[in-house]
Amino acid sequence: MKPLFNDWKSRYSLLWLMMWFIAAAFFSGSSSEHHLADSLKGIHLTHPLGCDTFGRDMLATILRGSLTSAAFALFTTITAIFLAIVIGGLTALTPKTVQFMLSRLLDLFLAFPSLLFALGWAVIRGPGWSTLIFALMIESVPSLTRLVHVRIREILTHDYIEAAKNLGADSLWIMKKHLVPPVLSICMVKLPNLFAHALMAEATLSFLGLGAPLGKDTWGSLLAQGKEYLIEAPHIALTSGFPLVLTVLSLQVLSERLSTTIKGLNTFRKMIHVES
């Protein structure tokens, strides 16, 4: 097996993510006090990325906002994975009719963009974190559930499951030994991808005014501010989006590497399995 992340692309991606995270953690306690005298000030020695409308240093504000966005994205990603494993796993053991109904229900969710569901939710409950979480769950849970469901059903048809049953293994043992590891490995491959999706969705919905509550700095709300003052202060739009793009690109690279490695791992396992 090739060592993971042993090429220049993934190294730079990891480096960027770590650097950004450390910087964001360092700036998480910095003050968000307004200095209106510095409002919309451009790039300057004391403010390397300029200032925003409220005269706050752009770099510190982006770092603080990105930490909020990342915390939110991590929370929703892990919740989505948990939900997908529970729903996909439980329904894999139910009768065919229930599985058919689940599959039609997932089709229904996948047929419409999650933005539509989010708009419907926002008009009932009002914009806010709940809208964001709802939109992300609608976007990520159905496809991931399908993936988990199909994988579990595929594993259950293998001979070694039958063999384990005949050797007296109970269902808990089979689950622990044969189902959880492969399902977790798919989810781990999907994790950077889901995380990147969550970041993008947060940015988009908060930008539209449906996401993060007013006064809370996130990547999306900073992008909205950038659009508002695009002509007077283009540096806000430019600088607030750039780190997001780099982060999403890095996550893409890692996801790609991870999936090729795990795919290799799976064929490797299969080979051993066939031989023994």
């Binding site: 963009p113 539509l116 940015a203 988009t204 695009l230 002509i231 739009a237 997001l244 793009v245």
Partner: protein
């Protein structure tokens, strides 16, 4: 023929379901729907009229049937804010969205076809590398960042288009967003069909390379690609919605976002129904195109 009829029937059922769901939005409001509606939207219309307009005095199914009757003659109610007929406003805005999406589709398809096919023709050549890099970067660019950058480019750096009202900058933004993924997809699918052996045979017979790519690579893959395009129509529409807000393009998306933020419930109901219906029609059209290109599949 029966499958066609079955499909049309199931399509109609889902449309009815969407209609019921959008009509249920107001009833899902917390507390007494009417009171919440008045408090949230701050409307000055008397409660008695609102109760009648939203049919809140009837049970849900009775209200649904009367709404359906009205909708069948094109009456989707009146806007809470402007008192304009919802159907009229939504229809006008939807045409604008359609124009934007179609132009973006033409630009995006041209770019992704050219790039994807030339990448498939020569693995690990220049076009292949461009396709990979372009696909990766295009997927990582969030529309709320790309849009303002394009505005800045066209308004300040190369002032060709006016900032507002021109269709080309938003269409470019939208096309850039999806053409990367599509170029990669076309490359993968065409490369797969080129591997099946018929292409090697054609090359051995001396068929020119461009013809091999089109006839033995692209043509067999096109049915699957058309169906995929149909399923992605919803995503395209969602992208168009965000783009519209950025460029102040007066389409269905900007109408929906405005109406949600201003709590114009009647408008949200109508616009959501039309948007969801359009997604459904997109998937259906993709399926039809697939069957048209590859009729063998239909008889199965």
């Amino acid at each position: 023929m029966w499958t066609g009829l079955f499909r049309a029937l199931s399509l109609l059922t889902i449309l009815l379901g969407i209609f019921a769901a959008t009509r249920g939005l107001v009833r899902a409001l917390p507390g007494d729907p009417l009171e919440t509606l008045i408090a949230e939207s701050g409307t000055s219309i008397p409660p008695q009229i609102l109760r009648e307009e939203f049919n809140l005095d009837k049970p849900f199914f009775a209200a649904l049937i009367s709404d359906l009757k009205k909708a069948s003659v094109g009456d989707f109610g009146l806007s809470l804010l402007t008192r304009q007929p919802v159907a009229e406003v939504v229809a006008k805005r939807f045409l604008n969205t359609l124009a934007l999406s179609l132009l973006a589709l033409i630009i995006g398809l041209t770019v992704s076809l050219l790039l994807g096919l030339s990448a498939a023709a020569k693995p690990s050549g220049l076009a292949d590398t461009i396709c990979t890099v372009y696909g990766g970067i295009a997927a990582a660019l969030p529309t709320p960042w790309l849009g303002p950058i394009i505005i800045l480019t066209f308004a300040v750096i190369i002032p060709i288009f006016p900032v507002g009202g021109n269709i080309i900058p938003p269409a470019l933004t939208l096309a850039l967003g999806f053409s990367g993924v599509w170029a990669r997809l076309i490359r993968e699918r065409v490369r797969d069909t080129l591997m099946t052996g018929s292409a090697t045979g054609a090359r051995a017979r001396g068929v020119p390379e461009w013809k091999v790519i089109l006839k033995y690579g692209f043509a067999p893959a096109s049915a699957g690609l058309a169906a995929y395009l149909g399923t992605r129509f919803g995503g395209l529409l969602a992208g168009a919605f965000v783009t519209e807000v950025i460029f102040n393009w007066s389409g269905l998306g900007s109408l929906l976002v405005e109406s949600v933020l201003q709590r114009d419930y009647m408008m949200v109901e109508g616009a959501t129904f039309v948007a969801a219906g359009a997604c459904l029609m997109g998937t259906w059209a993709g399926d039809l195109a697939q069957n048209f290109i590859n009729p063998v599949r239909q008889t199965k």
